[in-house]
């Protein structure tokens, strides 16, 4: 946190003239409690620590925007290395950087280009880091291309929220693009709808019926899918395709090409093969710029409180002219990550699992029937299927205190619950 500001040697007069216009006086829609002035500037430049997840098409834009807006403590995570095909739009990278870590090269570039900004890179997976790591940031911006990674960071941030500790709530700004389309959204874990709440409105990637691939290919993509989905597992039953291995792509390309010739289909190329196998959607540099800019403006407004921020979903469609729409995506009560009921239970250490289940069934406020219980690491009691019921039945006689540590979590599912109930067990 900032105390008093010693003018940084790199902060020449007028450096932040434009940004300071916003931080020096309140606007008509600014939160009335917000105090403009030096404190606000100091906070942005010395108090805020931002994490950028992804240093690719969106990430490069986000890092550059943040640095030029006056954020000075930026961290970046990316597990990827630079590919030659990135260079058309990932402008922090040069040809000499091909093969190097995106996070490291991006951090170095920003620090060289924008004096006084510290960018701390991590070349690896977001899953390598724990809650203590994510706890250090003011807010997090995602520029990812993976649903799985987004689900992970979203669930992690929702889990981190501790009702006793305001610092534990980390705003998440998520950007995404697909060709001329994109979206930016603000997620306030446990307050607004989360990423998991909107999982079913995701566009599915194009998938072809497996019978078409097997018998009636008409498109070059059908031939490539045939090679990767059917032919590869048949020839190499014990080896998975590595999307990043050029030899694997090469093998698939040759198989696909043969098949295409057999069915008189044109258009199978090496790069199409790579594109289909890796599910690459053509990336448009300017869509990335639009979405990243939206994300960074929201980051600025949330971090400084200087203006009202996005509530909570902005979509951009540039496929037919220019269209955008902003709406409030609502929380789903049955969301497996942020929805569901939670209950603190204090029980005797002598209570058996069967007695705990009876207790749950009797409680009027939760109205549960036939509950199945598990901890994050093991199943305690499952009502079905018969084999699992039998395997977990011996636990019924055991004391809950032997199965669940103090303050341990138990997940309860039942057909009568919208999704699940989480119990936090304490002992008397």
């Amino acid at each position: 946190m900032a105390t008093t500001t010693t003018p940084n040697a790199t902060d020449w007069p007028g450096r932040y003239y434009h940004i300071d216009q916003i931080l020096e006086k309140a606007g008509p829609r600014t939160d009335p409690e917000w105090v403009p002035g030096d404190k606000a500037k100091e906070w942005l430049r010395e108090g805020v620590k931002v994490l950028v997840i992804g240093a690719g098409g969106l990430g490069c834009e986000i890092l550059s925007n943040l640095a030029l807006t006056g954020f000075k403590d930026i961290h970046v995570i990316d597990m990827d290395t630079i590919d030659i095909s990135n260079l058309n739009r990932q402008f922090l990278f040069r040809q000499k950087d091909v093969g190097k870590s995106k996070a490291l090269v991006a951090a170095e570039f920003i620090m060289n280009r924008v004096p006084g900004v510290k960018v701390t890179p991590y070349h690896g997976k977001i899953q390598d880091k724990d809650e203590d790591y994510y706890m250090q940031f003011t807010l997090i911006i995602c520029g990812l291309d993976s649903v799985e990674a987004r689900r992970w960071i979203n669930a992690t941030l929702v889990n981190m929220v501790d009702p006793e500790n305001p610092q534990s709530l980390k705003p998440l700004i998520d950007g995404g693009t697909e060709g001329f389309k994109g979206q930016a959204r603000v997620i306030l874990p446990t307050i607004t709808s989360c990423y998991e709440c909107s999982l079913d409105m995701l566009n599915k990637q194009t998938q072809f019926p497996i019978c078409t691939i097997a018998n009636t290919p008409r498109l070059p993509e059908h031939c490539i899918e045939w090679a990767s989905v059917l032919e590869w597992p048949r020839v190499f039953p014990d080896k998975k395709v590595d999307n990043d291995d050029p030899d694997h792509i090469d093998w698939l390309y040759k198989q696909a090409l043969n098949r295409a010739q057999e069915f008189k289909i044109e258009g199978v190329t090496w790069s199409l093969t790579q594109g289909v196998v890796k599910n690459i959607i053509p990336a448009i540099a300017s869509t990335n710029a639009i979405i990243s800019a939206a994300c960074c403006n929201e980051a600025f407004k949330i971090a400084t409180n200087s203006a009202a921020f996005l509530n909570n979903y902005f979509m951009f469609i540039g496929t037919d002219g220019v269209y955008s729409y902003t709406f409030e995506h609502e929380r789903r009560p049955e969301c497996p990550v942020c929805g569901g009921e939670a209950l603190d239970l204090t029980i005797s250490p002598e209570l058996t699992l069967q007695e705990l289940i009876d207790l749950l069934i009797e409680r009027q406020d939760i109205q549960i029937k036939k509950p199945s219980l598990s901890t994050p690491t093991k199943q305690l009691y499952l009502q079905a299927p018969p084999q699992l019921e039998e395997a977990t039945r011996p636990n019924l006689e055991k004391k809950v205190s032997e199965l669940v540590p103090p303050n341990g979590d138990v997940t309860v599912t039942a057909s009568t619950l919208p999704f699940s109930l989480s119990l936090r067990i304490a002992y008397t």
Binding site: W34, N215, L230, K370
Partner: protein, 179 residues
């Protein structure tokens, strides 16, 4: 940032910390414990502590595959239910919608999968393939052609291959139910 916390206090005072059980894990627990299977379908878990990998045995009680016990492996990844379960037939069987490698042509396993579907829907879909094989969407083209050409011959091929017979150079697995 202060403002955000006050939003939480106002509208969500009762929120509690949630467990670290993954969404996929909870969803699989929910799907499995709420399965509503007929007596013709049974699940088996090689490791009862691992809910993500198991087999389903289908023993059709009518139709041309009656008398067989067909075993499918289910592999669920951590991105479930965004990703569908991976399902394969573990035996070499003669079926228009199942190829000799065990790949299954069922729309909801691929192009028509949606997160609102569940394991029960997949299992019911699989059983349906044995009651009504669909030669219009073939994966085993020979079997499909045979079925359209002569239903009687197809049925006799099914009977022969289910016993572990040989057909056109392929050795099929004996799938006759031992019960």
């Amino acid at each position: 940032m202060i403002k955000i916390w006050s939003m939480k206090k106002n509208e969500d005072a009762a929120a509690k910390k949630k467990p670290k059980t993954s969404a996929a894990q909870i969803r699989v627990q929910k799907d499995l414990t709420e399965l509503d299977l007929p007596s013709t379908m049974k699940t088996h878990f090689p490791d009862p502590a691992d809910l993500l990998n198991f087999t389903l045995t289908i023993t059709p009680d009518e139709g041309m595959y009656k008398g067989g016990a067909f075993v499918f492996s289910f592999a669920i990844n951590t991105n479930y239910p965004h990703d569908p379960p991976k399902v394969k037939c573990t035996q070499t069987i003669y079926h228009p919608n199942v190829d000799l490698e065990g790949n299954v042509c069922l729309n909801i396993l691929r192009e028509d999968w949606k997160p609102v579907l569940n394991l029960n829907s997949v299992m019911v879909g699989l059983q349906y393939l044995f009651l009504e094989p669909n030669p219009d969407d073939p994966l085993n083209k020979d079997a499909a052609v045979e079925m359209t050409k002569s239903r009687d011959l197809f049925i006799s091929n099914v009977k022969q291959t289910m016993k572990g017979g040989y057909l056109k150079g392929t050795q099929y697995d004996n799938v006759l139910s031992r019960s």
